[in-house]
């Protein structure tokens, strides 16, 4: 069966619009699901256990505070030199910044 230009145009437009509307509807559905799930899971996570007390924030160690201006030396805290070298190489590779252009002031194990 052959159809005319006008009808062909109308079918194409109708099909494209149908696909668009369906997927727009799916956006709404996904947003609703996400909102509901996040609200429920968020509630579950934030609800504190009545008996348990929130742990007090860990006291900030004295050496973490920048007490004096940076002296140009890399400070390693609970990290050995080999691990620090690996971390610097990875950061340099990921950011595409040569090592000699990167400044590391402190590497600290958390």
């Amino acid at each position: 069966m052959n159809i005319g230009v006008g009808e062909a145009l109308l079918i194409s437009l109708c099909g494209f619009v149908t696909v668009f509307l369906l997927l727009l509807f799916l956006i709404v559905v996904i947003k609703i699901i996400s909102t509901v799930v996040m609200a429920i899971e968020g509630k579950g996570k934030t609800a504190p256990a009545p008996a348990a007390e929130a742990p007090a924030p860990a006291p900030v160690k004295e050496e973490e505070k920048p007490s004096k201006p940076w002296d140009g030396k890399l400070q390693l805290i609970d990290v050995d030199e080999e691990t620090a070298a690996c971390i610097m190489a990875i950061i340099s590779d990921e950011t595409d910044i040569p090592l000699d252009e990167l400044q590391f002031r402190r590497i600290q194990a958390l």
Partner: protein, 388 residues
């Protein structure tokens, strides 16, 4: 009983495929051309790695079906092996099973994290409807064949096979081969269009990391999508239903064995059956025609226009979000998972080496699968109505 060696040899040769090829006039010549085409497709699949899992199987099915007197498809007394395998295509069994495997292998997380990706998945179906229009108006194809040609633009092999087997089965081999060949050529077809319709500074945009999607959202997603889409377009049920079932196996955490089977064993078995039976439909009489060349041409147009649609909407979303969306991810809205997303990643990284678009492009990419299945559902509903 008289026994003559020359008589036996003559009988063997007279009934051999060689006699069918070289002593059968034009019919034999047509088979020879089809065999050569099968060889070329085998070369492309094996040496050039063009969608090898399907192209090698389709090409070998084509070879077997065109070897004279092989009786792989049918003979006088009964139907051959490939005929029976083809019933899986005719009855719409294989494409949905492939979709189940695709669903089991797909992570819808990026789509759930950024649902607006669905807009790009819808926009990239532009090629389907323009190629449908072009096939009707430029080449005068009947509406059923035009719909089957248009669906090539969805860049989704199983969807193209399913729509064609229902609407225009005589063109199944041409459309399947065009669809899979162009899917393999995506890294060559898409980049020029992506560059032509995007600005350099937009292609360099680094997108912010997607939020983490909870497992509950991932489990509800396939159930909700199957329900919503199938209720609206019931004809998409075999494709969307199986896609979402496969995904549910993958994410629900209690069906690991089914997930593994859907992804590997079942997917591989069905791929063999589908490829062989589609290849076997490539009979010389229907394949060696001008229509095949027109279909292959319109398939390319459909692919290009789908990429164009996705990229243009990528530009629009880039503008609407004030530069938060890299328009290159729009091109991934054509299905072809995950090849189209990889192309977006590669092109993005060419412009900005520290750019990682792959996860962002996976959203439109999997949205494209849903979009093309929806377009297929539209045609499957409309064309029978138009044809009375």
């Amino acid at each position: 009983m008289d026994f003559s060696f020359t008589a036996v040899l003559g009988k063997i040769l007279g009934e051999s495929g060689y006699a069918g090829l070289f002593g059968n006039g034009a019919e034999g010549l047509k088979c020879l051309v089809m065999i050569l085409i099968a060889f070329v497709l085998l070369y492309l699949g094996i040496a050039k790695k063009f969608e090898p899992l399907l192209l090698v199987t389709i090409a070998f099915g084509m070879l077997l079906a065109n070897l004279p007197f092989s009786n792989m498809v049918s003979n006088v007394e009964n139907d051959g092996l490939l005929h029976w395998l083809y019933t899986g295509v005719k009855l719409d069994i294989y494409p949905p099973l492939i979709f189940m495997g695709v669903g089991a292998m797909t992570d819808f997380g990026p789509l759930i994290a950024r649902p607006s990706s669905l807009i790009l998945g819808a926009a990239a179906q532009f090629g389907i409807f323009t190629a449908f229009l072009g096939s009707l108006l430029l080449f005068g194809f009947p509406v059923n064949v035009a719909a089957a040609i248009g669906i090539i633009g969805g860049a989704d092999g199983p969807t193209a096979i399913m729509v064609t087997s229902k609407l225009a089965p005589e063109y199944l081999s041409a459309i399947a081969i065009a669809a899979y060949s162009y899917m393999a050529l995506i890294p060559m077809i898409q980049p020029p269009i992506m560059k032509l319709f995007t600005r350099k500074q937009d292609r360099q945009i680094k997108m912010t990391q997607l939020r983490e999607v909870s497992n509950t959202e991932k489990i509800i997603f396939p159930i909700a999508v199957a329900t919503v889409v199938i209720l609206l377009l019931p004809d998409t049920a075999p494709l969307i239903g199986m896609l979402m079932l496969g995904n549910l196996f993958h994410v629900c955490g209690v069906t690991a064995r089914l997930d593994e089977t859907a992804q590997n064993a079942l997917m591989n078995i069905v791929t063999i059956f589908l490829g062989l039976s589609v290849g076997a439909t490539a009979a010389a009489d229907t394949f060696l025609t001008w229509q095949t060349i027109q279909i292959i041409f319109m398939g390319l147009v459909a692919f290009m226009l789908s990429t164009f649609g996705g990229v243009i909407f990528g530009d629009l979303m880039c503008w609407a979000t004030k530069g938060k969306i890299n328009p290159l991810i729009g091109s991934a809205g054509v299905s072809a998972v995950p090849m189209a997303a990889r192309v977006a990643q590669i092109e993005g990284q060419k412009e900005n080496p520290s750019n990682f678009l792959l996860m962002h492009a996976m959203g439109p990419n999997v949205a494209g699968v849903i979009g093309s299945a929806a377009a297929a559902g539209f045609f499957l509903k409309l064309v029978p109505m138009l044809m009375g």
